[in-house]
Structures are given as C-alpha cells and as structure tokens.
Amino acid sequence: MSFAKRFSQDTSRKEREFSDLELLRFFVGFLKPYSKLILAILGVLIFGSFLAILNPLVLKIAIDNYIIPKRRSELWKITTIYLLVVLSTWITDIARIFLISYLGQRTVYDIRNDTFERLIDLSMDFYESEESGRLTSILTNDIDTIADFLRNGLTDIIANLMRLIGLVAIMLWLSPGLTVVTLLVTPLVGIIFYYLRKYARGAYRSIRQSVAKLTSKLAETINGILVIKVYAQEERLKGEFASINEENYRANIKQNVIVSLILPSIKTLSSTAILLIIAYALWRNQIAGQTEVSVGLIVAFIRYEGMLFDPILSLTMFYSLFQSALAALERVKRISNQESSVKEPENSVIPSDPLGEIEIDDVWFSYDGGKTFALKGITLNIAPGESVALVGHTGAGKTTLGKLILRYYDPTQGAIRLDNVDLRKLSLDYIGRRIVLVPQDPFLFNAPIVENIRFGNPEASIDQILRVSKLIGLDKVVAKLPEGYDSIVGPRGVQLSQGEKQLLSFARALVSNPLVIVLDEATASVDPFTEYEIQKATETVLEHSTTIVIAHRLSTLKNVDRIVVLENGKITEEGTWSELIELKGAFYDYYRAQVLSEMKGIIRTSN
C-alpha cells in the first residue's frame, strides 16, 4: 500500500492553490454577518477622515486669515474651532478603535470556530495523514495572524483610503497645479509594491510553514518524550529542531528585508515630493507674481503631502500584514475546502425498529485507493443482541472492520447495514450514539475521571457512572486517588496505568447504552482476573447490545455466540467455540498455539 501524504500541505507545496481573489472572497464571507457594524465603522471612518482633513485646513485659515492679517481679537474664534475639531476627533477615535477591534476579534472568533468545526467533521482518513501539531498551529497561530491583519491592517487601510480621496479633493480645490506636482511621484510607489509582491508572499508562506513545523516538532517531541529519553536521543532532536528554527529565522529575515525596503523608499519619495512642491510654488510665483502661492498654502500642502504619504506608508504596513494574512488564509481555506470522505446523507433514514442487527455485505476496503485491500469481500450477518468474536493475526483487518462498522470510513465496495439500513443513509449522529467502539489504545482527556466517563453519554447520571465503575472494578482504582472521581488524569491519561486507562475507556462505553458495541482488544493490558470480572459485568450491562469482540486471549471467548476467524482480510472460519475446536482448522491451531505457548512458558519456569 502507498502511504503517500495525501493531504499533507507542508511538503514544499509552493504552488498557489487559490488566487488572491478567491481567498478574499472566502474572507469576506466571514464579514458578511456584520454588514451593519461595518457600515457603522465606515461612517465613523469617513467622519474621522473628514476631521483629519479639516485639521490642517483650520490651521491654514488661522495663519492666512488671522495671524498674518494680525486679527488678534478674533484669534480665539478660530482656536475654538480647532479645539472642537480635536474634541470630535477624540470621540471618533474611541468609537473607531473599539468598533474595529470588535469586528476584528469577532470575525476571528468566527473563523476559528468555523475552522475547528469543519476540521472535526472531517473523516478519519484525513487525520491519519496529518500531524496534529500542524493542525493546531493553523487553529491558533495562523488565525491569529488574520486577527492582526484585521486589527492593524484593514482598519488603517480603509481610513487611509478615505483620507486619500478627501485629501486629493481638497488639494485640487486649493491648487490643482500643486496637486499634480505632489502626486507625480506616487506611481513609483505602485511599481515598488508590484515588484515586491511575489517575494513578500513567498516569504510569508515560508514563515507560516516553519511555524507549523516548529509546532509539529514540539508536539511530537512532547508526546514521544519517553522514547526519546529511553534511547537518549535528545541531542539529535535538538539538532532537528534547531534546523527548523533556522528555517524560521531565515524566513523572518527575508520577509523583513523585503518590507524594510519598501518603507525607506517611500519616505524618500515623500521628501522628493516636498521638493517638487517648493520648486513649483516658486516657479509659479515668479511667473504670476508673489501672490499666487501663499506661505499658508505651501505649509498646508507640505502637511497634506505628509498626510498623503501617511496612508501610503501605512499601505506598506497593510501590505505586509495582508500578505501574511493571505498566507494564513490559504492554510485555513485548505481545511475548509477539504471534503470529508464520509458524508452526512442528504435525507437520512431513521430505522423504525432499532434492534442492532448488523449486516456486512461483501465488503472490500482499501486504505490506499485500491492498490491493496485490507478487507477482501467480508460477508457477515450479526443478529440483534448476538456476540461475535473476531480472531486473527495482527494486521488481518480486525480493527479495520470495526472502524467500518462505526463508519470511520466507507467501504470501497459492498455495504454495511444497521437494521436493514445502509450506514451511508443514517445520520452520523444516529450512528455515533448507537454504535460505540472501545479502541485498542485508550485515549483519555486531561479532565476529571467522571467527565472522561461521561464523554460516552453526556446524560449519564452519577448513579449510573458509579454502578458501572463498581461492576468493572474501576471503583477500586478511583478509591486510591486523592480526589476520587474528580481527579484529573493528565494529558492522554498518563497519570494512570495502562490497565486503568483501559478500564476507564471501558466504563465510558458501558454508560453509553450502545445498540452495537465493538470491543477492540479493550482489555489487552488487564490482568486475567480483572478481565474475568469485566466479562461478567459486560454480560449483564450489554445483555441486549450487539457485541463484537476482538481479543487475543482466546480462552476469554468461550461464552461468545460466534467466533469469526479473519485471515488476510478474509473470513476463513465461523462457528461457535466448540464447533471450531471440533473443526480443527485455523482457530484450533491458534488456540493450540496459545495453550502450547502458555505451557511452554510454564514449563520453562518450572525447571
């Protein structure tokens, strides 16, 4: 089979998958619900820009109409007007900062929720080809980059664009000639941006990728710390981490060189514009006499020019944040666009009579799109309430079959039916609540024991939890813990022993009142005595549930209704315990081998 990284995104995918326009449309989709708020912000921004333009105008009037003509007694009037402008600016500033932050944070909140929800609805095959650290990095670091853009970039750009329009209008009104001269250098700015765009995007993309790689490496190191310590490989991992870190460093430097280039060149252009203004003014005055361009006008224009380049400068900031956000959006959108291979049916059917009958009808399954098959034509009918054991070598396909019954994947060919309805026609919620799996590796959340159990059934009462715990002997484990059922178990449950984790995982399944339950080596690390206790308990609690047991300790299977032997993805034998022993086929061989092995073990330690 091929384990090509089907979804993995960071394996040097440099090609752009989405155009900027698509990314923007995707982004705007998140802004839509807040159109009223956006309108309000626009209002505030327009008013604010108006005030900002008014400010130098008032100053000009003060100089030209009051100070130069020496109208001392009336100077207070224009000063008051100036102060009123300042006060109004203050109020709009407050509104602007708050509303814009609100919009930004709210949008990012939505994007994060939405991405998480889409992510978690994706089918298992997606998760098997992804690294958790990378996904976490998208949900945290990448989305935060978008927040940065909204807060600092987008807001400034809107305000500044408006200011730009207003400025040009007022400048034209004051002096069209000076305006043209001032704007002469602006096309150069566009050229600079255009040239650097590609590089900037590439640099930001590598930053996002290296951050994800750092997160992944950290996550893997933390999860695998025991193995790393066992074999004293700390130094090697440090080396590996350092090289990813170096990658991150390089990407950051590259990005900075690009952005730093823009800023000074724009500043230089801005000063050149001042020069042009003065030269032009003097030239006009020489031709047309001193009065055409007044001192006040020059002062105003120099200030307008500064204000003109202010938005252009912040355009750089915007530009850099924008490129960064696009690189992040690309990664977010890839998750949003990911199709789940297991889909919710359009019109789901609800079985009229939930009994728990499972029909596996000529099921073939391949993990690698048809190159090799893990299951090759399995046909098996399991009656309501029946208990069936799956037996076979490791890699025979037992777990795979179990996962198909839960609809982690859909069969490549054939069908699985629950109570005569194809699983693909049932809602995922229906399956999820009625078919339950106790996996080979117990997974616990870093939460109190009681919550871990309740994960199986949020409505489970304390009584039910206590009863089940007692039945399988979990109560004895809990009794040892200082905080009892409220004890937190550590990440993945590391603060419990493996067997204890399995018990807890088992309890979780038992409180869920399943219609069908798959026990995948659920007690493999439990001692035979406890296992026996669990078995007894299960028989009462799961009396009416259809049970599929996968186990290697064959002696525990004597009481199941039927045993199915799986070899290489095919069913080779089927029958009750005694039937199969009689048959002296594969199952008999397994059993014999096991007993023999036990005996040999015993004999070895006997002499």
């Binding site: 298992m124 025991l226 490989q233 991150n248 001192v295 870093n446 022993s497």
Partner: protein, 592 residues
Amino acid sequence: MSKGEIYQVLLETKRYWHYYLLSLFFMILSVGSDLWIPLVIREVIDEAFIREDYSRLTFSLAMILLLAVLSGGMNFLSRITSEVAAQKTVKDIRNDVFDVLVRQDIAFFSSQETGQLLTRGTADIEAIRRFLSMGSRISMQGLLVYFGLLILLWNIDRVLLSLVVFLGLPLVFIMAMFGKKIGPLFIKQRKLFGDVSTVAQETIEGITVVKAYHGEKIQKNIFKSQNHRYFELQLQIARERAIYIPLVFLTIGVITGLVIYLGGVTVINDVISIGTFVAFITYLVMLALPIRFVAWFLALYEQARAGSARVYEILNRKPRIVETESVPISGSLKGDIFFEDVTFSYSRSTPPVLRNLNLSIKGGEKVAILGSIGSGKTTLVNLIPRFYDPDKGRVLIDGIDVKKYRLRDLRKKIAFVGQDTFLFSTSLKENIAFAKPSASMEEIIRASKIAQLHDFIETLPEGYETLVGERGVRLSGGQRQRVAIARAILADASILILDDTTSSIDSQTEQELHKALAKVVEGRTVIIITQRLGNLRLADRILLLKDGQIVEEGTHSELLARKGLYWDIYASRTIDPKLAEMILENLTQERG
C-alpha cells in the same frame, strides 16, 4: 509577577550588542536627516518666499533631496541590523526552550498540557520577537525623534516649549495607567490562548474517541467556549486601548490648539517670525509620532512581558532528575539490578505506589513481572532508567546507585519498550533505527526479522520507506508494537525491559517472536511485564506484584503449589485444565 523574565530576555540580546549599536548609529543618521528637512524648508520660506532672496535656493533644494535619500537609506540599514539581532536572539531563546524542555523529567510532562507547551514554544516566543524587533526600533526612533524635537523646539521658542512640556505632563500619567491596566490582561491573554491551543490539540489527538462517541458536538462546544473566553478578553483589551490611546491624541490636540492661539498672539506682536511659528507647529505635530510610539511600545512591552514569563517558566525550571557524579559507562553492563528498600509515590498527596520494595536480579537473568492493574509494575521498571527517582531507598545497577551514572550512558545501556507504543511520523526505517541512526540496512532488517516484522514490511510497496503517520496510525496495533520491539533490539543494550509489549500480538506471532528473541537476549538482563502466561517462556523467574510490593516469587510450579495470588489471578483463569494436561503430557514425552 516579577519583572525578572523580560530582563532575562534583554540579557539574551547582550550577545548581539554590536548589532544594536550599529543600528542606533544608522538610526541617528536617519532621524537627524529627517529632522533637518523642516529647517531647510523654513529657510526656503523665509528667504525665497518672504524676502525673495533666491541665492541659496538651489543649494537648499539639493539639500532636501540629499537628506531625504539619506534618511531613507539609513532607516533601511538601521532596521535590518536591529532585525537581525532580534531574530537571532529569538532563535537562541527558542533553541534554549527546546533544549531545556527535552531535559525535563517525565513527571513534568505528565503534568503539562500539550497545547500550553506548544504556545509557549511558538506564540509566546512570537510576542518576544515582536517586542525585540519592533520595540527596539520604535524606542530608538521614538526617543531620538522626541529629544531631537525638544531641542529644536527649545531653539525656536522656549516659552512655548515650557508651556508644551507643562501641558504634556498628563500624558505621563495616562501612559502609566495604560501600562498598568493592560499588563495583567496580556498575561491572561497568553494563558487563554494556550487553552484554545490545548483544546484543539487534545481533540485532534483523541479524534478516534471523539468520533467513536460522536462527541464532535461536545468538543465543538468546549472549543467554542474557550474561544469565546479568549474573544472576550481581547475585547477587554480593545476597551482599554479605546480609552487610553485617544486620550493621548486629545491631549496633543488641545496643546496644539493652545499653541495656535498663544503662538499666533506672539506672531501678531512681532515677537517671532511667521516662519518660526510654522516650524514650531510642524514640529509639534511631529511630536505626535514618538508619543504614539510610546503607546505602541507599552503594548509590545507588556505583551512580551507576559510571553516571556511563560517562556522562562520553562527555561528557569530545573529538571528534577540530575546527575550526581556522572560516572561514565564504557562497554557493556553486567546487568545486575538491585532494588534496596525502595519507596516511591507520584505525589505527596497520594499513597506510595511502591512500598519498601526489595528485589535482586542477577546479570543475564530473565525475570517476568506479573500483577493486577495498577499494582506498580510499570512504576517499578520506570525507576531503572531513572525516569523517576525513589523517595526512599536506592536502585543499583552493577552495584552502583543509578543516580551516580552519567544519565545518557545509563539510558543507552537500557532498552525500554513502553506499554504505550509511540512511533514518530516518519518512515518505518527511521523508526526502527531511532536509537541508532547510523545503523546499516542489514542491521535494520536483522532487527525486523527478530521482531517478526520483516515479512510484513516486504509486502509494502514502499517497504522500509513507508511512512507510518502520526504515532503510527497507519499500522495495526500489533505492527506498532513490533516496530517498538525492533527498535529496542537494534539499540543493543545490556538490559532489556519489555512492558506489556505483546498485548496486541496474536499468540502464534508471539511464539515466533520469543523464539527469535531468545537468541539475542542471551547474556542480557531481561525484565518482561506481561499479562499472558505465554510470555513466561522468556523468563527464569516470576515476580508477583501487589500494591507495590512483591508478594510471590519463584518458578511457575513453586507458585502453583502455593495456590496463592498467582493461582487466583492467572493460572486458574487462563489454563484449560484438560487441554493443559494433554499438552503437558505431549511435551514431557517430547522432551523425555
């Protein structure tokens, strides 16, 4: 919170002081040129416009252009140099964090949320990065501009300047309040961000369980509520920003208004020239920049402070497992293991897991440990490679307390296959050769053959290069366990510890495995923890653990004869008496 951590960050930058010095130099040139421009403009206005004296005009215009280019160029150089220094510092800090992290003891990892650790290694360091790269630039530029402007204003009109300074005093108060308000919020923000990360990471890691119980809704709600808490905090921060930052501009605006009035009056009274007045106002407006920088700097600083507190919590943590004497181990160990009155508990509030345990294993001996769940089997073997140290008593290997060995050497001599198999998301080959990256292909194949893995790998199209997925999800449980065993075989250690490593392997494969394993473990000490009697085949002696103490010890027949715990837990439930008799007979005949 102490201020300490951010100072530690600053200490880290010391190594790159020459970069900062260079950057400062460039910055002075840049700001100097910048501030010079209005002076030239003033001259142009006063001379060319008012007095119509054009003699120096060309020179002045050329000067403006030159200053502009100089300012831009120097600004670029200054940015790049300080940026390099900042990025290098951050790189160092991140590498240090990783170094310190992998040196921590196992206990540390079982108490830390993965997501929180992840944000400490990424986003929190990012806050430091932002501070170092932008903060240094802002503060340098801000201070230079600020003092430069003050000097200029001083030269233009002292009375007006005194007025400005006096009126500007509230700014200091506003800024101080802003810093004080926003600081604790940022600390909370970092924590909440870590919580978001934790929920995400945990859900993704536990996706099998989430899907098995259709717990997507529960997890979505948990995530949503964490996300919401983060959102609300961000709003709170926004609120503080919305209160304080406009206040700063209001103050500046009011001052400017007053200067217009008072300055206007002085111009009208012919005390100062109109050019001076314009210059004064221009500079005053420019003063808004450094002041805006202060607010910005404060936010960056507080964020970095919150981030560095979390980063340095790791960097300043001393691992509990440290070498006392660093006795090196050259060659192989004999493999004598001795537990001397060992008592151990995971925390003070819980009863001891091992209680006054005494145990002696001779070099080359094979011992099986049995016991019900939670009896302390895993804990016992965890003490041998020093994942934990005993509270009381000693663990000795070859007669020397394990604490005295050089840790690296000790662990290299012990191959430990844990109960919870962990594979890295690389290829099969790299996973098997994890302990010995230099291993040749023959060695890898030999180890795989012993672990009964080779035949399976041969059936894969990509063979040993096959990628196994995170934690080895693309393999079956038994295949994963065998990879872990192959890894241990290749490590070629003196002591082999197998903690329930065949639980997902069928008996036939297990038998083959034992047969092959028996040859390679010849002469090595082996401890095997198991729940299956088949595994006893590798052992010379059985130990039975109960509540942290060894309660029965001996060979199978000795234990059987006692009809004690061993009989209760194992023999009575596993062995089919009829079949056993039959087979035993067979076997004895074969042998006899």
